[in-house]
Every structure is written in C-alpha cells, then in structure tokens.
C-alpha cells in the first residue's frame, strides 16, 4: 500500500463527514463563481444588446447642421475608403416627440431616423430573405415594438411626429428664428419592422427599450426644408475590428471629400467689385473659418477684406432719425479705402467717440455734417434669453456718395426676412419691428439701393459692439489683383478646402462600435458587487467547511496519535490530512461550478424581476465564462484549503499521548482567556473613544458610530469567549425544567471554540444586515431646503426643443405663451443649457463615454443652492458658494465642472481634482476637471460647467432644455400640468424633484435590499451550521447523555437541553449583532426621527424571523438525534 492508497481509503471511509466538507466548499464556490458569472453576464448582455441594435455600423459621421446627401457617395468614392471601410449610408437622425393621435398618448425623446433603401441594404436586410422587404414610403412610419406598445399603436393608426426644425441661422443670434422651432409631421403607422431584423436600432448604448421611428428620408427632408440634405452618415468597417486608426483614416477621407456647402459656406464671384465673397448660411462666419480663409488666400497670393454688417433699428442725430439701416463694419484697409480722398475730420485727441462714415443719403436724412455725433440703436440677443436694445455713439468722419465700395449691396449678408424682401414694408425679421416708422423715402432707398449699408464703421468697433459666440464677421472678401474671376474662385475653393478641417467646423466622427464596446464593460462591476453581497454566504460556507473538516479531524485524533507512534513525522501526518482536504476541496469545487451556473441564473432572474429597479432592464441573461468559473473555483479551493490548513494547526501542540488518550483539540487555555479579556477591554475603550469623538464633532457621525458599533461587536464577542472558556461558573442546582435548561445552557461551554464560531457568524451577519438599513434612502417628502438634494426646487422640467426665451421675463412668458397664467405667479425658473450625452447616473448600466453636460445661468450660480460633499474651494467666497469654482481659470486650460458625488464615485470613477477627457468626435478632446461634488442631488446624470465655458466649448448648442422650478408644494401639480399643456409643442415634461431623486434612490435601495437578502441567506446558512455543531456535541457526549438517561432523564429533558443550548447560541449571536448595529446607526435613526418608523421593519423583521426559524430547525434536528441515539451502548466498554 502507498500513501495514496491510505488517502483513498480515508476519503471513502469517512464519506459522511467528507460529504459535508464537499458541500461547504461547493456552496462557497457556487456563490463565488456565480457572483463572478453575474458580472460577466451583465457585461455580455449589455454588449449583445448594444451590438444587436447597432447593426453593421462601426462609425458615425455627423454634423451639427445638415450637409449634402451625396457626401456619403463622395466618401465611398475616395481611393482610401475601401481599404478600411465597406459602405456609407446617409440618413437623418433626430430626437422627437411622438403622439398617437387617437388616444393622445405621447412619448418624448424618441429617436427619429429618416432612411431610404440604402439604410436597409447597409444592414443587410433582404440579404438572405426570400421575399423582398420594403421600407416605409410616402407617409408611412415604422415604430419599434416598445414604442408601439407604449402608444398602443397599431397598423394604419395616425401618428404625429414633432421634431426640431433645423434652421441655418442660430436662434441665439439676433436674426435666428425663435418661434416655430418645431415641425409636426402626420404619418401612418405601418407594421413590418420586425421583418427587417433590426427591431431596435440605436447608435448609442442604452439598456432600456428603444423608442424609435423610421420615416422615409425624402418625406422628412421635404418637411424639414432640407431636400437632398442629411445630418448623419453610417460607415461600416471592413471587419468590424474597430481599428484604432479608423477615425483618423475616415477624417482624412472626409477632409478630402467634403465641399464648402457641407459646412454651410457660400463662395460667390462678385463681378462688379472683381472679388469673391465667402459667407455662411449661418450668417456669421467664425474666427476659425476666417483665419482659414485668410491662410488659403495668402497661399494663393490673394488679399482679403473682412466685413461685419449689422442692422441698426435707428440712426439718430439730435431729433432726426433714420429707421432700420444696415451698418457695415470694415477692416482697416476697407474703412480707409472707403474714406479715400473724401474730406475727413481727424478725431481730436482724447476723444472717446468712434469714427463713422455715412453715405450722402443718410447724412442728408439726418442733417449731419462732418464731426457731428450720430447714435445708433440696435438689438442684441442676450444669452440669458432676452432681446436687449443697446446704443453706441459715433462721430461722423466722412460722407461718401453711394457708389463704388460705398454702394455695394453685397456687403450685407442674406438676413432672412430682410434682404429677401421686395419692400421695406415686407420685412419679417425674427424680432419686433415697427413698420409704421418706415417712411416713403425709406422705401425709395430700398427700391434704389436695396441692402446697401447706410453707414460704415471700423471692424474692430463693430466686432466689439456686435460680437456673438458664433462669430464676428458676415463675409470675407477675397481680393485678386487681376485674372479671371472664375478660375480664381476654383483655385480659392480648392485651397480653402485643403485648409479647413471639417471636424473643427461642426463635423464629428465617432467610432460608435468601439465606444459602445468600451461602454459595455459597465459603469458598475456587478461581479464585484455580488461578491460583496454574497460575502456572508461565502463566509458561512467556508466556516462550515472548516467546521466540518475540524469535526472530522477530531473524530480521528487517535488515528493521528497512532501515526506518531508508528514513526510518521509530523509533517507527513499533516500532509496526509491536508491532501485529503485538498481532494475534498477540488471535488467540492467541481460540484460548485455546476452550482455556480444555477446561482447565477437565480441572481439574473432576481435582477430581471425583484431587483429590476437596480438595472432598469429585463434583457439580462446568463453568459458562462470560463474565466469566471476558473477564478471562482480557484478562489473557493484556496479559501477552503486555507481554512483546512488552519484547522490542522490546532493539532500541532497536542502530544501523541493526549492524541492516543482521546483528548480534544485545544481551546486556548488560560493564556487565551487573558488575551481575550485584554482584547475585549481594548476594543470597548476604543469604541468609547470613537463615540466621544463623534459626539464632540471631531469625527464624522458615520465613522464614529459605525466604528464604535463594530468595535463593540468585537468586544462583546471577546466577552462571550471569556464567559465560555472561563472556569468560574455558578453552582448548577435546582429542579424542574429551568434547572434542566440551565444544564443545556452550560453545554455551550463544552466546546467553547465551536460555540464562539457559531455566535460570531450569526452576530456579524446580523450586524451587517441591520446596519446597512441605515443607508437606505428616505423619500417621504420633497425638501424645500436650498441645501438639500433638490436645492429647494419642487419641480424639474425637460424640453425636447430648446427654449430660447427666458421664461422668467415678461417678454419670454409672452413669447412662450405662458403669460397671464395665475398658476404661474411666483413660479421662478432656473434654466440650464444642455449638451446631449450619456446618462452618468446609476440608472445607466453602460459606462458613459460622453456624459451629458449642462450649464446653469449666472443667477443660479449666485444663488449657492445644493449641498456639497467635497470641493476644491480655497477663498472664503468659494467656500461659502462652491458654484463659484465653475468660473475658475485653470492654468492648463481645463474646464472646471461640478458633479454629483454618487455619479462621480460609482459611475464615472472620478475623484476631486481629477480630469475627464470629453471626446468631440475628431476634434481634440475637451479636458474637464472635477472641482466640486454635490451631495445626493437631482444632478446625478450629468456634469455642470459655467455658461461661459459651455458656450465657448459648444457654441452651436442653443437655448435651454432643462429647468428647475420654484413653486409652492401644494400648487406644483397644477403648475406642472399647465406647463406641459402650454409648452406641449416643445415636448415639455415636468416631474417632481422628489420623484427624480427617488428614482436614483430606488437603485441604491435595491442594491441594499439585494445585499440584505443575500446577507440574510448567509445568516440562515450559518444557523444551519448550528445543526452540525449541536449534532456533533450530542454524538461526542453520548456517554454523558447515556449516564443521564440511566439516572432518569427522559426524551423531553434531552429535547429541552438541546433547545436551550441552541437558544443561547442564537440569542447571543442575534443580540450582539443587533445591539451593536443599533449603536452604529444612531445618526441615521436620529435623522429619520428615531423610533420604529426609522427602520424598514417589515423586511428586516422578516429576515430575522427567517433566521430564527432556521435556527429552530437546526435545534430540532439535533433534538431528534439526541433522542434516537442508542445511548446506553455507550456506557459499555468501547
């Protein structure tokens, strides 16, 4: 026989005990590996969900404006395209509001896709089907299944789609449209999307159902006045590998394929002035474009002239006025050329007035001469959302005839509603105009000279007065020395295209597949979370493993003694038992891996049902990952082996004689008692110190009380140990049930180590399960405290279409149609600009790559609302109002942002002072720096930056889309209903701020419930271990029990003894854990008003009842064993 033979024999012979060890290891491995599988499954589910919705798309080329549909073909025709890419498909992608006309049901923030056959071909629809698939045509619309279900829509139902009307001219420029921003399109629902295989198409990851509509491209283009134009191109990669340089290659292809009109640029030849004029559909030309034009012109040896022409409502001198005049600001050369040889008056030294050259018509109309002052009044659209009238005074330094440079109507850009009018009285600009002021002579001027400017000022002055974030020029003149204008135009066009980078002019290229794959890793590592949640299950299982293994070793102590007597070295004996343990651990691990899949299935089922609030989707399924199984199995084996090895250490100090004589494993002795007493005293003292520290404010309440509670728990367990292992006990006398029960109580000291193990497990699990309840969020009522998570605002509103007007101003209210509403008296709006992005709150399972950015107005910043957990405030002002940190200038140009602490910690994983690079689709990333963290606020889905930085970084983002409203709590329902009605065209949605917060809290509370449930399961498992302990005690003491039976104890007495023993273990465990947990959560209880109402009593109570029930069950098993055991035989020889 070899040692391996002895190993095999022992494994088989002691199979009962070994089975318990295997079961313990299997449970631990099942839970550990299962938890890791959960993490992998969530990631895989998110990935599958995203990829299934993405179709064949690898990259998205998009623009803030619309561009030629043919650009997609131009990209495909590029020589480099097919090296890395397969196809390009154009479409219009917007967000909209959808209304089911018959029922009035509506859904906001719906993805709207204007598509044609190219889209379906791009995604290989029809590639394998026998029948031909036909996309929507005419006025048909496909709805995704979830949207149709939400609207209750069926085939042939009438659907109203409302989207933002794209205008070239920005709404926050004076000449941009601020009414009629939405366009409603009537469509007919058609079924058949499911046949396409793209049931839910989405370019960006989201775990919830996709609400989307597919509209015929041509229909959408026509209704949006964008015939032949799109705003998105999908590009498929050659092998979906997501090459890291794909974006760079596509950017190069785009650079070499785009046309000026794709950027909204117009280049025309002006024969009269033998020049070219470069203008923008947006009216204003950005500084970046201007410098690119100058570079391009310089490269061709061409001159440039910069122009900014603006409308003055009034030109006044004294009592004379000229209404509605265009004033052109020219660069130095242009201005001086205009003055030319005309008589001019130099400005006196120290004059603050600015020079102005008038044409002679205007000079005569105003009755001015050289040197006279002229004041102009003009409108400016303020970023806060209001029209402001400003004025500036000039000194007439020149009067010129309306000819040559001064008679050029092309100096004015195409102002909608102005320059395209036949008569002055036909003007229809997007701002108030009093046509009664128009005189016949004004009409005559218009008829003769059209939009020819009446006055000229230096460009620098004009830019100072009229600069907008969109630019400070309306045209760039390209001035050739000579040559054919047509050929110069072609050369300049080509040169400008080479100089311009479309990704810096509104285009962006997003590697959506790669980004989505990255996002699918998840913001939350569910594997890690469920390992934590399952900690007590794993710990219980491992402790039981060690317990059962120890029981097995105790059974075979004499065997160990005989090995010593036979000359086995100690190390050989240890290795024999350790190898047995390892084999058991391996077998348990293999069994456990099968259980891991079952555990993962159970958890995923829970996530889809009971805990769906934590994940927000029912589309999660189990994915079995070999890595998770290996890690879980390996971890379980190592932990079990460690526990087993630890058990064998206790055998070492025993002498062969004590082993052979049937002594028990040592319990520590008097030295153990002294150590326990010292430890108990030390931890109790430390707990007291922490309590004092928290009371005096030197420590945070949570740290102080929670730390004290934990230390008190350790102290109480030390006390329990001292009581169990100490020798001094009262005399056991008396009669009847109580005396017998006391005998049972005394039994817990039979194996003090065993008893302490059970008590500790129950106590720790109870402590954690009770204490985590303190972190449950309370959403009973809306707080009006300005420092609370609602900032004192009762309502939060989001608008699909941007509100350009300030809803607090009378003009704004009137423009929005919410004036003269008594319900809105006293209601104040705090408006926020929004750059759409990914939700950075706990509601989003995907890791946000591009979080939503918001910007409050200056008045909100000054109000200093909301509480902060941490900030980088340095000055007293910043400390008093950390919002001021948003205006800080960082030396390296990083933009300061503020975020909610929960989102920063758990979703974006960003710490205070750390940076986040925000991708901008081809343009360099924007560096954001976290300067403050809000405490449990309504801003958990976004980052906030100052309005100034926002407008600088995202100048094309217009208007306000999110609002916080101050309204009386009892009137807030009425306010919400009124605003949703009145602003229905904007897709206005209003919710209670408390409800918004509650949505976030539901996620957190669900995680806590999950932890409590799994912790409770661990607790129950631990109490089942009591059965093993009690059973073992009964078996070991059968001689004593036999003696008791011989002297007259009956089955009832034995039952009472066992029940009493179990009751003591349960009671001490539950009591220690619960009382110490209550100490830990004193601050939380106090904040909720104390008392039973502060707890979620039903769930906690249920949990503790379940623990009690499993403990009683354990007792009953041991009772049955004690009653049935053939005790009297034990009195005989062996």
């Amino acid at each position: 026989m070899e040692k391996s033979g002895l190993l095999t024999r022992s494994l088989v012979y002691y199979w009962r005990t070994h089975l318990a060890v295997v079961w313990g290891v299997a449970t631990a491995v099942a839970v550990l590996a299962g938890a890791l599988l959960v993490g992998e499954s969530v990631r895989a589910s998110l990935r599958d969900l995203f990829l299934g919705r993405l179709g064949n798309t690898d990259y998205v080329v998009s623009s803030v404006g619309f561009f030629r549909e043919e650009l997609a073909d131009d990209l495909e025709r590029h020589e480099d395209f097919h090296t890395f890419f397969q196809e390009a498909s154009p479409l219009v992608a917007l967000q909209g509001l959808v209304v089911h006309e018959a029922s009035g049901r509506r859904s906001s923030r719906v993805h709207v896709y204007g598509v044609d056959d190219r889209f379906w071909a791009f995604h290989r629809v029809n590639a394998s089907s026998a029948t031909s698939f036909g996309g929507p045509s005419g006025r048909e619309v496909f709805l995704t299944e979830s949207l149709a279900r939400e609207l209750g829509s069926e085939e042939e139902d009438s659907i109203l789609l409302r989207v933002e009307q794209p205008y070239d001219v920005p709404g926050e420029f004076l000449h941009g449209r601020r009414e009629g921003q939405g366009r409603t399109i009537r469509l007919t629902a058609r079924e058949g999307l499911a046949e396409s295989g793209i049931n839910e198409f989405a370019l960006y990851p989201q775990q919830g159902p996709v609400h989307a509509v597919f509209v015929p491209l041509e229909r959408l283009q026509r209704d949006l006045d964008q015939e032949g134009r799109v705003n998105t191109v999908l590009v498929s990669g050659s092998n979906h590998a997501g090459e890291s340089n794909g974006v760079d290659v596509l950017a190069k292809v785009l650079q070499e394929s785009f046309q000026l009109e794709d950027l909204g640029l117009k280049l025309r030849a002006l024969e009269d002035s033998h020049s070219l004029s470069l203008e923008s559909e947006q009216i204003l030309v950005s500084d970046r474009l201007a410098s690119a034009a100058e570079r391009a012109a310089g490269g061709l040896g061409l001159g440039t002239s910069l122009i900014y022409t603006y409308l003055a409502n009034t030109m006044r001198s004294g009592s004379a006025e000229t209404p509605y005049s265009l004033v052109a600001a020219l660069d130095a050369d242009g201005f001086h050329t205009l003055q030319g040889a005309q008589e001019r008056l130099p400005l006196p030294d120290g004059s603050t007035e600015r020079p102005m050259v008038l044409n002679d018509w205007t000079a005569e109309d105003l009755g001015v001469r050289l040197g006279d002052p002229v004041t102009i009044e003009y409108f400016m659209w303020e970023d806060e959302g209001r029209l402001e009238t400003r004025s500036a005074t000039f000194q007439v330094t020149g009067i010129v005839p309306i000819e040559g440079a001064a008679g050029d109507p092309n100096l004015a850009p195409a102002y909608p509603g102005i320059t395209d009018s036949d008569a002055l009285s036909d003007w229809d600009p997007p701002f108030p105009i009093d046509l009664d002021r128009v005189r016949p002579k004004d009409e005559d001027y218009w008829n003769l000279y059209g939009a020819t400017p009446k006055a000229f000022i230096p460009l620098a002055v004009g830019q100072e007065l009229w600069r907008s974030r969109y630019g400070a020029l309306t045209a760039i003149r390209i001035l050739p020395d000579g040559g054919a204008l047509r050929s110069i135009l072609d050369s300049f066009r080509h040169g400008l295209r080479e100089t311009l980078d479309p990704t810096e002019a509104g285009f962006s290229i997003d590697p959506v597949r790669a980004q989505g794959m990255e996002a699918s890793q998840g913001a939350t590592d569910f594997g890690e979370y469920f390992v934590y949640f399952s900690f007590f299950l794993v710990a219980s299982a491992l402790l039981l493993t060690g317990l059962f293994f120890r029981l097995g070793v105790e059974q075979r102590l004499t065997e160990i003694g005989i090995f010593y007597a036979m000359g086995f070295p100690a190390r050989t004996i240890r290795r024999l038992f350790l190898n047995e343990g390892l084999v058991l651990a391996l077998i348990g691990s293999v069994v456990g891996l099968a259980g891991a899949v079952a555990y993962a299935e159970l958890i995923m089922f829970g996530l889809r049902t009971w805990w769906v609030d934590a994940v927000g989707t029912r589309l999660l399924t189990v994915h079995v990952s070999p890595t998770s199984l290996f890690l879980g199995g390996g971890g379980g084996v190592l932990a079990a082996a460690g526990g087993i090895a630890w058990t064998l250490r206790d055998v070492r100090p025993m002498t062969p004689r004590s082993l052979l004589s049937g002594a028990s494993l040592p319990t520590g002795g008097r030295r153990g008692l002294l150590g326990a007493r010292l430890f108990g005293a030390g931890t109790a003292l430390a707990a007291f110190v922490l309590l004092i520290g928290a009371w005096l404010g030197g420590l945070s309440q949570v740290t102080g009380f929670f730390g004290a509670g934990t230390l008190l728990l350790l102290a109480s367990l030390s006390g329990v140990w001292t009581r169990l292992a100490g020798g001094n006990r009262g005399l056991l006398t008396g009669r009847g049930a109580w005396a017998v029960s006391r005998l049972g109580f005394r039994s817990v000291t039979y194996r003090p180590g065993r008893s302490l193990l059970c008590i500790s497990l129950i106590a720790f699990a109870t402590f954690v399960v009770v204490a985590v309840d303190a972190f449950r969020r309370d959403d009973r009522e809306t707080s009006l405290d300005p420092k609370s998570g609602t900032g004192g605002y009762s309502l939060l509103a989001e608008s699909l279409l941007p509100l350009l007007w300030d809803p607090n101003s009378p003009d704004g209210k009137a423009a929005l149609g919410i004036d003269h509403q008594e319900a809105l008296d006293g209601v104040r709006f705090a408006s926020f600009r929004v750059r759409r992005g990914e939700d950075a709150s706990c509601l989003n399972l995907y890791r946000p790559q591009n979080p939503r950015i918001m910007a409050p107005t200056e008045s909100f910043v000054e109000s200093g609302r909301f509480g902060f957990t941490a900030t980088l405030a340095e000055t007293p002002q910043e400390v008093a109002n950390p919002w001021l940190l948003l205006d800080r200038e960082e030396p390296d140009g990083a933009i300061p942002v503020i975020g909610d602490a929960n989102s920063m910690t758990y979703v974006l994983h960003l710490g205070l002072g750390e940076d986040l690079d925000l991708p901008r689709g081809g343009e360099g990333a924007l560096r954001l720096r976290l300067v403050g963290m809000l405490r449990d606020s309504v801003f958990q889905g976004e980052l906030l930056m100052s309005e100034r930085n926002f407008l600088r970084a995202f100048p094309q983002q217009e208007g306000f889309r999110l609002f916080l409203l101050e309204a009386p709590i009892d009137a807030s329902d009425g306010v919400a209903e009124l605003l949703e009605q009145r602003l229905d065209d904007y897709g206005f949605d209003v919710v209670d701020t408390a409800e918004r917060l509650a949505g976030f809290h539901r996620v957190e509370n669900t995680y806590l419930s999950t932890f409590q449930t799994l912790g409770g399961l661990g607790l129950m498992l631990g109490t089942l271990g009591l059965a093993a302990v009690l059973l073992r005690n009964v078996l070991e003491r059968r001689r004593e029990l036999a003696l008791l039976r011989a002297v007259g104890y009956d089955s009832r007495d034995f039952s009472l003894m066992v029940l009493a023993e179990n009751a003591v273990l349960l009671f001490w465990g539950l009591a220690s854990g619960t009382l110490c947990a209550l100490v830990a959560i004193v601050p939380a209880l106090a904040s909720r008003g104390g008392g039973a109402a502060a707890f979620s009593l039903p769930s906690l109570g249920l949990l503790l009842l379940a623990v009690l029930a499993s403990g009683v069950l354990a007792s009953l098993l041991a009772v049955a064993a004690s009653v049935r055991a053939p005790l009297l035989q034990a009195l005989r020889a062996e």
């Binding site: 002895l6 024999r9 002691y14 086995f568 070295p569 190390r571």
Partner: protein, 229 residues
C-alpha cells in the same frame, strides 16, 4: 534494575517525569533505573495512575523525561531532531496499546503495513506482513476490515503491526486490558511466543497478575520507582 548479563541494549538512568498541575508539578516518575538486553521480557505492574503508561511512553520516546536518560543501543532518542526521532520510533520501537487503534478504513493487511509507508525502500514488507499475520493466525482475514474482527483478533493485528519493522523494543500498554479472558490468554501467549522466536526487548505494562506471572522479570512501579515484584 538490570536484567541479563548480556550487554544492555536499553539503559534507563535516573528517569523522572513531572506533569504541571495547578498546585505545583505532579511527579509521576521519581528516578527510574533500568537496564535490559536483547531477549529480556519484563512485566511491570503497579497501582492505577501510578505512572506505568507514562514510563512506557517515555521509553517509547513519545514523551520526553523531565530528567534522567534513556538510551537504546547507546543512543538517546531525545537528542534527535523531530524527523530523526520519528525515524527512530519507526525503526526501533513497536507499540501495542490497550485500545488496538487500528485504522478502520484499512484492511488487516493494510493496517499491518501502515508503518512501512514511512520506512525507507528496501525490504519486501508485504511478504513480511503476510508472514506475521500467519504467525498471529490471521492469514484468512487479511482482506477483512477491523469492524469484522473480534477484540482478540484486532489486538493480534496490532501486534503484527508493531512488529512489521522488526523493532528492538516492543512496548505493550495493557495489551489484554480490553479483552475477555480467552482472548487475553491468546494474545499473551502470542506475545511470549513471538518473543521467544525473535529476540527483542519486550516490556509489558499490565494490572493482570496472571499475565505478569508469565514473565521472567517482574517489576512493580511504586511511588515513581521500579522495584522487583
């Protein structure tokens, strides 16, 4: 105490053994002297709790003495390191206990072979085990488990196990204490028979006067010291 005139194999001199107790050390052996040669068979009797088993455990190097010396073939086992001590016990000493302490998971043959699992490679232990089992009359039971044997049979297996490595010193602690008279007689005869066949030092601790009387050298352990019976 000296047995035969041959050169002593086992020399014990001034052996004492104390155990710690709450009221001061408890002296169990108070100066034991003993000299035995190969072929000597000794019975030791004494009152219950008198230290007989303690003496046996010290002689078998299972416990160290408080003072004094034990030498087997001139070597003191207590000068050896743990590994060497284990090897010494494995090679030189055989134990038979009152409770046979057979491994329940192993067969009769396997129980006998157990000490050879840590022995150096060399002898044909299986053949020797079979011969020993033949000598103890259990050839027909080699594949049986301990649970299938009577008390006497189990003790005979224990004797065979103790002899598998051919030890020079065979120590028996109440080998017949748990047996019925017939089995006890059988085991006692076996021990003496084997002693006659293979010369070794046999020391038997017993409270059975009848068993003790069968030994040429009879000693008593009284007040921690060995005296002739």
């Amino acid at each position: 105490m000296t047995a035969s005139a041959d050169r002593p194999l086992l020399e014990v001199s001034g052996l004492t053994k104390d155990y710690p107790a709450p009221r001061g050390p408890l002296s169990v052996l108070s100066g034991v002297d003993l000299s035995l040669s190969l072929g000597d068979a000794v019975s030791i009797m004494g009152p219950s709790g008198g230290g007989k088993s303690t003496l046996l455990y010290v002689l078998g190097a299972l416990e160290p003495p408080t003072s004094g010396s034990v030498r087997l073939e001139g070597r003191s086992p207590f000068d050896l390191n743990e590994r060497a001590l284990a090897a010494f016990r494995n090679q030189e000493i055989g134990f038979v206990f009152q409770d046979h302490h057979l491994l329940p998971q192993c067969s009769v043959l396997e129980n006998v072979l157990t000490p050879t699992l840590v022995a150096p490679v060399g002898d044909d232990y299986e053949a020797r085990a079979n011969r020993l089992l033949e000598q103890v009359g259990l050839t027909a039971r080699v594949e049986h488990r301990p649970a299938e044997l009577s008390g006497g049979e189990k003790q005979r297996v224990a004797v065979a196990r103790a002899l598998i490595r051919g030890p020079k010193l065979l120590l028996c602690d109440e080998p017949t204490g748990n047996l019925d008279p017939r089995s006890a007689e059988s085991v006692a005869s076996l021990l003496l028979e084997l002693q006659a066949r293979e010369k070794r030092i046999l020391i038997v601790v017993t409270h059975s006067a009848e068993l003790a009387s069968r030994f040429p050298l009879r000693l008593r352990l009284v007040e921690g010291k060995l005296k002739p019976a």
